[in-house]
């Protein structure tokens, strides 16, 4: 067991309104951790997750990756390993396959190749066949779009998934597809870890082993029943 990501006294203050969004937070994510964070909306769950994804700059404190701070130039590389998935899937114009190929056009991932077989296997976990690849992204339902966004990330074999309420807007079937995909990815390598932000307590119990809660920017452990 080793620390993948660590935060030291990480804080964030809203840039415009100068309101504290995240109180000083010390947190460690080890390999093989399955963490859930629950809490009401506006409590700072997303703020914390986006900070870990380095999408928003912290006001103070540190984020360490394998014990080292991440230099500006290495941030895209970091993000291709520590993958953030938002609640609202953003797909580009074109087919499902175009969307799945997109990451390989980015400079950080240019050395890697799109692997049709791996993608077909992933689609299978979500109960989709290969014809799904030729569907137009604009014609997908919200649930299907989230499945595509998740596969787009999972095919890159990230070390860590930062899941920002990925099933909040989905129907039960799509939610199960998403959970199945994440289970399969997690089982694929014992060094992987994820943080799942959710407002669904049942899902949090089901999907994770470490339960945390966020309240007014303070991250704390959930008392076990």
């Amino acid at each position: 067991m080793s620390a993948l990501i660590e935060t030291r006294a990480l804080t964030r203050v809203d840039e415009r309104r100068q309101v504290a969004l995240l109180e000083p937070t010390d947190f460690t994510l080890n390999s093989a951790d399955r963490v859930s964070i629950t809490g009401s909306s506006g409590s700072g769950k997303s703020v914390f997750l986006r900070a870990l994804a380095l999408l928003d700059a912290p006001t103070s404190g540190q984020i360490l990756w394998n014990g080292q701070p991440v230099a500006n130039a290495d941030i895209p590389h970091y993000r291709s390993h520590i993958s953030y998935l938002s609640q609202r899937p953003a797909l580009l114009d074109g087919t499902v396959q175009d969307n799945l190929r997109f990451p390989f056009s980015l400079k950080t991932l240019r050395k890697r190749r799109f692997d049709l077989q791996a993608v077909t296997t992933l689609l299978g976990h979500a109960g989709k066949t290969a014809d799904f690849l030729h569907k137009n992204a604009g014609d997908l339902s919200g649930g299907e779009a989230q499945v595509v966004a998740l596969i787009r990330t999972l095919q890159l074999n990230p070390e860590v998934l930062l899941l920002d309420e990925p099933t909040a807007a989905l129907d039960p079937t799509s939610s199960r597809d998403v959970e199945a995909l994440i289970d399969a990815w997690f089982a694929g390598d014992n060094s992987r870890a994820f943080i799942w932000v959710s407002h669904d307590l049942d899902q949090a119990q089901r999907m994770s082993a470490i339960h945390l809660q966020m309240s007014a920017g303070v991250l704390s452990a959930v008392a076990q029943p």
């Binding site: 999408l55 500006n72 993000r79 953030y84 609202r88 950080t108």
Partner: protein, 264 residues
Amino acid sequence: MNYQNLTALDMGIAASLILINGALSLLLRLGLGRQLLWAAVRTVVQLLAIGYLLGWVFEFAYWYVVLPMMCAMTLIAGLSAAGRGRRTYRGQRVDSILSVWGSSWLVTAVGLFAVIRIHPWYEPQYAIPILGMILGNTLTGVSLGIERMTQELTSGRNTIEMILALGGSRWEAAQEAIRQAVRAGMIPTLNQMTVVGIVSLPGMMTGQVLAGESPVDAVRYQIVIMFLIAASSALGTVGAVLLTYRRLFSKSHRFLRFRLEERA
């Protein structure tokens, strides 16, 4: 051929045509009466003022008179380019002035020194109208470019963050918005270039013809000006869009969306 000077009476006859607009406004209840009057007054006052000012500047054709005048024109153009659009960010004025200034002066310099080769370069009869025409068009390009850029960044926020989250650089994330914004800024000039002479006779050319210049010579000037305008508005647009990009994306490949704000 004589040049027909206009008297105050002549201007009065033309100005009375505004009554047509006034009558239409009344008839159709457009409620534009006050605005029409204000617009008419501004047209007369602004043009008379610039006429006298230019008359004075032309008499004192010294660089220390012409140069400040050119600076003032550029500054006003830069400021009015920044004042449009629904969204803004801190520093937009500076970016707008910088891009208008850099592009228009560079291109005007090419026009005055390399193409028209006028001596001295600050000969106000040339320097001021040429800079003015370039500024007018550059300001349109710059303001459309910035406006489109901030709009694309707002509506495309999810896609931009998706690209960043997948490991894209800030440049890769902003590319599409930049492309759309530069296109938007350059299109008015391109449109103008395709219809010039067919649908519209440009003001400068018309002016030279009215003043007795042969149309063939006037057209040569117009061609030169069109290319100067095209170059300056393209440079200004690209400059403004790139400066906007630098403000809204940090070196740590973060999209600083909180810097974008709705204009009050």
